[in-house]
């Protein structure tokens, strides 16, 4: 028994340790208060902008410690948070609303380390403070809205083919479908052919019920799925836009399951504002203005002409009559940008529609050149809940802009008649980010104040350190020199856990710290197993070298079995658990893997180095 490691094994241990140290290193550097500037509406972050920002800061007598600009974002570091906040005001004044300037803490990692991919650990919201919100998308409303859109489409198809119908109604209840009623079987059969041709994605069938001739169009499961998926995607995009407009550094907007969205905003101070902005279920509709009737008169007398609805203009509260038929809705808007009309120099908004919206817009505007068209701002606010827990909703509808149709248009068009560039800007913002495809409800919120976050980090750090110190002391007291080896392995293990968490950019949470603490306690288990084996071998009279060899050999399969089963528990926790449970599982799993390396391979390298290859009478164990 020589107990010598081949060179490559020693090199492997050294290499792993060095890599571990390298990637754990970024966590030792502090963080600077910083501002991240990003372009919002395709606005460029370029050299010109940098010049502007620098000039603004010079004027405000603030010197950033460092300015970095790459990939459409600019990072400015400052000495103090006071400087940082002053700078934000100065920059905001110069750049206006086309940019977001979020306050953040930027890691102070040296360039060479950053170039190697070295980054500090990603701290969870419970450690840095912030707001976590889980949003549920109201899929019933999304489907209902889709059905309403179909009824409009069905009406216009039937009109185009000059088929007379009695009513077009969405079916209430479980079945998702539209019933179209006809006066006789012949008309119905003609309509059936036309509708089946036009709506290939729907189930179309003839139904005779109570002497009525019906065509029923139903949404097949695939269509229902597609609608839900679209509503979720659209809402994620909208929420992401809103979050970006909030100016938060490193926001997270992510799909969870098939109807939920997770939003995580680090460092946000005012949860109320965030919830209001996220939850605003604003949407927009384009409608024709009813010019044949007088809106004031309609309001006075209460006689609303059929086919029209009475609205209020947001600006001055004056009444206005709009046609009931919606031309396009907000979810058909793919883009919007504010600018100035080249001919008149007045502020305007350029709007882009998807193909279906564009087709409708072209049809309607061709027939209505010279007539005014209105943009209606619709918002559903939840005002309470009824006895069954169903939300009580109230709809706010206001006309935010009225403009004349100058010529027929389709995919891209301009809305003029706006009062100011600010208004144009705001409208563009609303059009671009404002439309949620379906109402949302916040079903979970976890907000951690910044002071609690700092407390958590401090307490977590202290308990890891004290717990570890206790274990280190015990191991040396009990196992002497071998205890020192185990201690070295334990420290190496902690370094490796930190390095892997930093490399993976996994999020470290308070339960994650608990996982690390637990791993520290359990990591020595492998060494205890080995050492107890060595002691047993010594007791039955093996030579020290043989005892070391047998101890490691025999303990190995036990360690594997024991760790694999714990790993199974960690993996199950990770895949099924949510939030806090996941954080715990990640560090536990990483800790198990790294501890096996440090406790088996690492300590063996040390043991071999100290005792290997020579005659020894006694082991200090």
């Amino acid at each position: 028994m020589l107990n010598k490691y081949p060179l490559w094994k020693n090199l492997l241990v050294v290499a792993v340790l060095l890599l571990g140290l390298l990637y754990a290193l970024p966590n030792l550097f502090g963080q600077d208060p910083a501002i991240v500037v990003t372009g919002l509406h395709g606005a460029q972050v370029d050299a010109d902008l940098e010049k502007k920002v620098r000039a603004a800061l010079q004027e405000a007598k603030i010197t950033p410690t460092q300015v970095e600009r790459n990939e459409g974002r600019m990072l400015l570091r400052f000495d103090t948070t006071t400087d940082q906040q002053k700078a934000q005001h100065a920059i905001a004044k110069v750049l206006g609303e086309d940019y977001s300037y979020a306050l953040t803490m930027a890691a102070n990692v040296p360039d060479w380390l950053a170039a190697l991919g070295g980054r500090p650990m990603n701290l969870g919201l419970d450690l840095r403070g912030g707001i976590h919100v889980l949003i549920d998308v109201d899929m019933d409303s999304a489907l209902q809205a889709k059905l309403e859109a179909y009824t409009g489409d069905i009406r216009s198809v039937l009109r185009k083919h000059k088929i007379r119908y009695l009513t077009v109604k969405t079916e209430k209840g479980k079945q998702l479908g539209v019933n179209v009623k006809f006066k006789d079987a012949a008309t119905r059969d003609k309509a059936l052919d036309v509708l089946a041709e036009e709506f290939r994605n729907l189930g179309v069938e003839a139904v005779d019920a109570d002497g009525a001739y019906l065509v029923r169009l139903t949404m097949p499961p695939a269509e229902v799925r597609a609608t839900k998926k679209f509503a979720l995607q659209q809402n994620i995009t909208t929420i992401r836009n809103r979050v970006n407009a909030l100016g938060v550094a490193e926001p997270l907007v992510q799909q969870q399951g098939d109807r939920r969205i997770v939003v995580e905003l680090p460092g946000v101070q005012d949860p109320t504002q965030v919830k209001n902005i996220l939850g605003a279920t604003a949407t927009l509709e384009y409608r024709l203005v009813d010019t044949e009737h007088d809106a004031f008169e309609a309001k006075e007398t209460g006689k609303i002409p059929p086919g029209s609805r009475l609205y209020k203009v947001r600006e001055d509260g004056r009444p206005i009559l709009l046609k009931k038929r919606v031309i396009v809705t907000g979810d058909q808007i793919t883009d919007a940008a504010s600018g100035f009309d080249q001919r008149t120099g007045s502020p305007m908004v350029t709007v882009s529609l998807d193909s279906k919206g564009a087709r409708r817009m072209r049809n309607v505007t061709t027939e209505n050149v010279g007539k005014p068209m209105a943009v209606v701002f619709k918002e559903t606010r939840v005002v309470g809940r009824d006895a069954n827990g169903k939300p009580i909703k109230r709809q706010v509808e206001e006309v935010i802009s009225v403009a004349n149709i100058l010529e027929p248009f389709g995919r891209r068009f301009q809305t003029t008649g706006l009062d100011s560039p600010q208004e144009a800007h705001q409208l563009a913002l609303l059009l671009r980010a404002g439309a949620l495809a379906a109402p949302i409800d916040i079903v979970e919120e976890r907000t951690i104040g910044p002071s609690l976050g700092a407390d958590n980090i401090r307490q977590g750090f202290i308990s890891v350190m004290i717990g570890m110190a206790a274990v280190l002391v015990f191991m040396v007291a009990y196992y002497r020199v071998f205890g020192l080896f185990a201690d070295a392995a334990l420290i190496a293990n902690l370094v490796l856990i930190v390095a892997i968490l930093s490399l993976l950019q996994a999020t470290l949470t308070m339960p994650g710290i608990a996982g690390i603490v637990l791993t520290v306690g359990m990591a020595v288990d492998a060494n205890v197993l080995i050492y107890e084996r060595i002691r047993e071998e010594l007791r039955v009279g093996s030579t020290p070298q043989a005892a070391i060899h047998a101890g490691y050999e025999k303990a190995f399969s036990t360690i594997m079995d024991a760790n694999i089963t714990t790993l199974i528990a960690a993996v199950v926790l990770f895949s099924i658990g949510s939030g806090p449970v996941k954080g715990f599982a990640v560090t536990l799993a990483i800790g198990i893997v790294t501890s096996m390396f440090t406790a088996i391979v690492g300590t063996r390298a040390l043991v071999n180095l100290v005792y290997g290859g020579k005659r020894i009478e006694k082991l200090s164990i």
Binding site: V382, R446, L452, A514, G521, D525, T558, T566, L573, P580
Partner: protein, 313 residues
């Protein structure tokens, strides 16, 4: 060599297994009875509701805060101190008529007004009733799946009697830990659930080490009844079992006293779990395997055909 445990004498653990069974039986009956009658004090993670933690600049009487809340229509709020007399925890059940996510805003606004702004919002947790139900389901599922996966692994690596023995021990540990939370009325939240799952991992770790040695000794020791072999094995691994539990307890105690209020019940559940888990890996798991009739023949390595020939020089 320092020794915690004398190693020269085999301890007759299996001889005491009747006594152990009685103790475990009593603990299990009490736990199950309490779980059935009292249930668990589920936190808002599972029941849904709102939790607001606020920090005052100065110590504030609880009655005063309760009065402020009652005046603002939150008469049902539970107020308690959290760690220090300046930190308060306010719990609210889900309520009708108010958009759930807004309750915390209203509570904080009311407290802030009453305290002239000298109060800080430290934490808000709001869980909708639906999400609470899902978390409960997911949690129960996680425990079941973990148990199943472990059962399968142990059955493949060892033998079905050991698998059953280890799962019996795990169910024993989980039930007693849950029973403790039920009897003491301590809040059972997501972190405690994570702790319970960690207990499963830990207790299993302990059990596997003992089983591993039993398997080895069944192959090595030619003479001796299964009970004797098990006794030898447990004795041989006893110092390891106790030392590992001890080091784990060291860090858990550090976590319990220094980790802060949020992690309190988590560490408590783990401390209890480690204690019970250590006991069960000694007395329950092996005893169960023995009762099921584990024997030497079950654990002899399967001889591959031709293996002998290969061994010939």
């Amino acid at each position: 060599m320092r020794q915690l445990i004398p190693t020269n004498r085999t301890i007759d653990f299996m001889g005491q297994r009747k006594l152990a069974m009685v103790i475990s039986g009593i603990l299990l009956v009490i736990s199950v009875a309490s779980l059935v009658i009292r249930g668990l004090a589920f936190g808002i993670d599972f029941t849904g509701g709102t939790l607001v933690e606020v920090g005052y600049e100065q110590e504030v009487p609880l009655d005063q805060v309760r009065k402020v809340l009652a005046e603002n229509g939150f008469g049902d709020a539970q107020v308690q101190q959290f760690g220090t007399p300046r930190d308060l925890l306010i719990r609210l059940a889900p309520r009708e008529g108010v958009k759930s996510a807004e309750i915390s805003d209203q509570v904080y606004r009311a407290l802030r007004k009453a305290a002239n702004g000298k109060v800080e919002l430290r934490r808000v947790e709001f869980v909708g009733p639906q999400v609470g139900d899902e978390l409960t389901e997911d949690g129960a599922l996680a425990v079941l799946v973990a148990l199943m996966a472990i059962l399968m692994y142990v059955a493949v690596r060892f033998e079905w009697r050991f698998a059953v023995g280890s799962v019996v021990a795990l169910v024993h540990d989980v039930t007693i830990t849950l029973g403790f939370f039920s009897i003491t009325g301590l809040e059972f939240d997501l972190t405690v659930l994570a702790a319970v799952l960690a207990v499963i991992g830990y207790s299993l770790n302990d059990t596997i080490v003992v089983f591993d040695r039993i398997r080895e000794n069944f192959r090595k020791i030619r003479k001796g009844s299964p009970a004797e072999v098990i006794n030898v094995s447990i004795t041989q691994t006893l110092s390891r079992t106790i030392i590992t539990s001890f080091t784990t307890l060291l860090v858990l105690i550090a976590l319990f006293f220094l980790g802060g209020e949020i992690i309190h019940n988590f560490s408590l559940a783990l401390i209890l779990g480690v204690l019970v888990g250590t006991y069960s890996s000694i007395y329950v798991a092996s005893a169960a395997a023995l009762t099921l009739g584990v024997s030497k023949a079950d654990l002899m390595p399967v001889q591959k055909e031709g293996a002998r020939i290969d061994d010939m020089p």
